[in-house]
């Protein structure tokens, strides 16, 4: 548990480093994954399908391996 939350945190860090619009960037990733990143908590159960979708969407939007 908590891996999904960790990936979200990584994404937020990368957004900050790249100085991207946080709402729009997270929103585009959320639309592609099918769930809102803002609702992911540390206790949110890990789902391998969601995890894979999140990583793929993040790499496509951020154009960087996550």
């Amino acid at each position: 548990m908590g891996r999904l939350y960790d990936v979200v945190q990584t994404i937020e860090r990368l957004i900050a480093e790249k100085k991207l619009d946080p709402f729009k960037t997270k929103g585009m990733i959320s639309i592609q994954t099918g769930f809102a990143l803002g609702l992911v908590r540390p206790e949110t159960p890990d789902d391998p399908v969601q995890l894979a979708a999140l990583k793929a969407a993040a790499e496509q939007v951020l154009k960087q391996k996550v």
């Binding site: 709402f23 990733i29 639309i31 990143l37």
Partner: protein, 387 residues
């Protein structure tokens, strides 16, 4: 395929059809112009032939009147002194021949109606004159005139009663062959003409015997023989039925010769018995007219095509400016603010640009309200999930 591409294709097809339609209309218009011009040319030839006949009938009638006023001729005719009549009339006849009046007859009155003297063949007389012009002069006690067919060509005849001292002494007839009509009409109009006669009114053997060494062209055409032409005789033929040619004339089509285009038409020659016994073929050079009409047509078609292309470009540009760009702006705005909402900016709807005052603006207004509601719902959901 994008909506814009589909629209451009539809516009292109519509403008192509419009251009083709306009080109077709222009072509039909120029064809109609040529047809009207052709009809006018043929009608003018018919009118010219009619006027020429009327003028020459007046000429013949005036000559008859002058002769009937000659006292010595009257005396000789009443006395039935053929030799004296011939001697007195011969110098007058020589003068008349200078004016193309080549036939001058004196006839006995009815019931005999026999020929008394032929000025051009004094030894031949006594035959019965049973022609429509003679019969009309008898019936009307006045002028009987019209076209009549001889053995090889038409003659314009005029016959008048000769009343001497209150008593009908007989009839005077004068006529001219209409072969010279062709030359006179050509001099007036510049066109070439040909004269045709219906074979059914001629005798093939007589025709052949009177060809005077010329080729016997009896079989050149199925129903007619050509008895004269001012230009290329091959253009003056007719293979149809003269009886079916209307009085006002008929267009026979166009033919190309030596790089020039000629319109052919035919006008029936109606004899004094009302029969369409012959035809006058006219050949009119329409090269310049055709070129002018073609030039105008081509200009009109080019302008039509250009107008269609310009209209298509204007329509596409207007569509691009008024619709496509507007939709693209809307899509971009909705995408941006939807993404922001999904990214956690639950108040994104408040920052959306004001909607436009058009159909798309109505949807923008609705979507802004929808995003506002979604934002509130997500905000509350997040708050509950944190508890």
């Amino acid at each position: 395929m994008s909506i814009k591409t589909k629209f451009v294709l539809v516009i292109a097809v519509c403008m192509l059809l419009l251009g083709l339609g306009m080109a077709l209309l222009v072509q039909q218009g120029s064809d109609r112009t040529l047809e009207i011009t052709a009809r006018q040319i043929v009608s003018a030839a018919a009118a010219s032939l009619d006027q020429m006949q009327k003028a020459d009938v007046q000429k013949l009638d005036a000559a008859i009147a002058a002769v009937e006023a000659h006292p010595a001729l009257a005396q000789a005719f009443v006395a039935r002194d053929r030799d004296r009549l011939y001697a007195l009339a011969k110098p007058i006849f020589d003068e008349l021949r200078q004016r193309d009046i080549t036939v001058w007859h004196f006839h006995d009155p009815e019931p005999a109606k026999t020929n008394f003297l032929r000025m051009h063949k004094p030894s031949f007389h006594g035959d019965v004159m049973d022609r429509p012009t003679m019969n009309k002069a008898i019936a009307t006690k006045g002028l009987g005139a019209g076209m009549e067919l001889g053995q090889t060509t038409f003659a314009l005849r005029a016959v008048r009663p000769w009343v001497i001292d209150g008593k009908l002494a007989g009839y005077v007839e004068m006529s001219e062959e209409i072969g010279n009509y062709l030359g006179r009409m050509k001099a007036q109009t510049g066109d070439d003409y040909g004269l045709l006669i219906e074979k059914q009114f001629l005798d093939a053997k007589s025709y052949a015997s009177l060809r005077q060494g010329q080729r016997n062209d009896w079989d050149d055409h199925p129903a007619v023989v050509a008895v004269g032409a001012t230009g290329d005789a091959s253009l003056a033929g007719f293979d149809g039925q003269l009886s079916e040619v209307p009085v006002e004339g008929q267009i026979l089509g166009s033919v190309e010769r030596g790089g020039r285009i000629f319109l052919r038409g035919i006008v029936p020659v109606v004899d004094s018995g009302g029969r369409k016994a012959g035809g006058l073929v006219l050949v009119h050079d329409i090269t310049a007219v055709r070129a002018s009409v073609a030039s105008a047509r081509n200009r009109a078609i080019a302008l039509s095509v250009l107008a269609a292309v310009v209209l298509a470009v204007v329509v596409v540009l207007l569509f691009q400016q008024l619709a496509v760009r507007r939709v693209e702006r809307m899509l971009s705005t909705l995408e941006d603010y939807s993404a922001r909402l999904a990214g956690g900016d639950y108040g994104a709807a408040a920052a959306m640009p004001p909607p436009g005052n058009d159909e798309i603006g109505k949807f923008e207004r609705f979507f802004a309200d929808f995003l506002k509601l979604m934002g509130q719902m997500l905000r509350e959901l997040e708050a509950r999930s944190k508890k």
